[in-house]
Symmetry: C2
DNA sequence: TTGCTCCTCACGTCACGTGAGGTGGC
DNA sequence: TTGCTCCTCACGTCACGTGAGGTGGC
């Protein structure tokens, strides 16, 4: 069997800490070649160095021990690469998330400490519109939103009807509270439009609303929601009813995120 | 004091889980405005919504609770921004690390499963050189390496002496085992060169060496080290003495990482 | 009585690091 | 005897999530 290496020697040769080696033993990732039955001393052999290197390499690359086990036990290169690819995809996802986070932090710093949002009270009259109403999962919202407005736009083009106001949407409270609920995407129109598929005529009900304008990246709209929600809650003026968003300028209009404007409208007790 | 909100209501309003709210109470980050002494029920008030939003926002951005506490307690915008900047810098560091990881994983997949490294045995004769020898911390190695060779190159230019071979370095085993040790950077020369500052004449001692060539990014050289170290250890032919690196092609010669070539040389018992 | 909301433990997560307290051989 | 290396618990990390088991009011 050749040389036996104490855990200290093996640690120095592999740059894995003694504690880590004990841990790998404990979880069965890398068992010592031999254990002294009297003293409990662990002994390793040089033939274990390649496995130790694989462990160290992939730990450095952020791979969890379970997957390293899978790499070590992979019967061939394809199986091994499958595990590596899966890990790489997770790391890429994390990369994207961190990039978004950094961008968000940067905008937090650059925004001139917006202070309390400006909230306007408004009495909205009923409005005629073409609309799509469906039950939507929170997670699917973004895609659903894009599809719905693309379809509404297409119908208006096809029928030659012109929009009588900016696009808007209504969200039942459940969408925010239970991750799924009824959503209506709509475009105001002056007259009737023949329904087609899931598109219907719809009359947006009148309402008393507290309105805040969100400026900038859509990804940050939760801030405006939070600020407006707080405004309403602190004044105890909230009433039941769907939340509305009015899309003054969005990605459908311009690529320039800084120019985006969305009105967030919260139903309230009375326009003061 | 206005409305009292149960933990469930407050959870729905803030999108913070009930468990999270209890946790924030426990660690003193967000204390309920009131606690029923009989039932232990927690009650919140709308005035706590802004703090809850700050917590949620920064948690989403990966900030630890301790720093969120600092943000909430910051006396002014500058103090607040300081915490945010510090966090952003950590996130950016993480970003860079993840990018390197993904690149490394990709190269692992693209490299055609190199298999065991090719190891050549070599009898190296003593060689005359100009050299800088110093005690170096593992963490400082890269910068030290660059400075040393820049200085050696400058001296050769200044004295009109031509290099008689590729740049090389000797690393005492302690550099790898204890994070600090003696390192020698050298350039072979045919004759004597007047010493200047920390630059000395030096004769690289002869040695029996096992040699593996590392190709590609310097950041991956630990793989070649590992492979060669394993080769030597498994054959039990290692002897004491510094490890050598011979810089056939490096960043000092070309920007093209794929073209880089470094010989890693391990002292062994005999050239077989 | 059934449902719903709230409560308090207690444990798990992930990969070790940090002691504490003790042993065996030079 | 002193140092060094090895050992085994046991606990901490970080921010909760996941039960278990129980209560109070409609």
């Amino acid at each position: 069997m050749g040389v036996k290496l104490s855990i200290g020697d093996f640690s120095r040769m592999t740059h894995l800490s003694v504690k880590a080696l004990r841990h790998y033993h404990e979880v069965g990732l890398l068992e010592p070649a031999q254990i002294d039955p009297f003293s409990g001393y662990r002994f390793y052999v040089p033939a274990q160095l390649p496995a130790a290197q694989v462990i160290r390499r992939f730990r450095d690359l952020g791979m969890p021990l379970d997957q390293i086990r899978a790499v070590l036990q992979a019967p061939d290169v394809e199986a091994r690469n499958e595990v590596i690819v899966a890990h790489m995809q997770r790391m890429e996802a994390q990369l994207a998330a961190t990039q978004a986070t950094v961008a968000s932090l940067r905008s937090l710093l650059e925004r001139p400490a917006s202070g309390p949002v400006a909230v306007e009270h408004r009495s909205a009259a009923p409005v005629r519109a073409v609309a799509i109403t469906e039950q939507v999962l929170w997670a699917d919202l973004e895609q659903w939103w894009l599809d719905a407005f693309t379809e509404l736009d297409a119908i208006l083009r096809a029928t030659g009807v012109r929009a009588a106001g900016p696009r808007a949407a209504l969200f039942a409270a459940e969408v925010f509270e239970q991750e799924s609920g009824e959503v209506t995407a709509l475009v105001p129109v002056a007259g009737a439009v023949p329904g087609r598929g899931r598109v219907r005529d719809y009359v947006v009900p009148g309402a008393e609303l507290a309105v805040a304008v969100h400026r900038g990246a859509f990804a940050d709209i939760d801030q405006t929601y939070a600020a407006l929600g707080t405004y309403v809650a602190e004044r105890e003026i909230g009433v039941d009813g769907p939340i509305r968003e009015v899309y003054l300028v969005t990605s459908l209009d311009t690529e320039d995120e800084a120019a985006h404007r969305i009105e967030v409208c919260w139903p309230v007790f009375h326009a003061k």
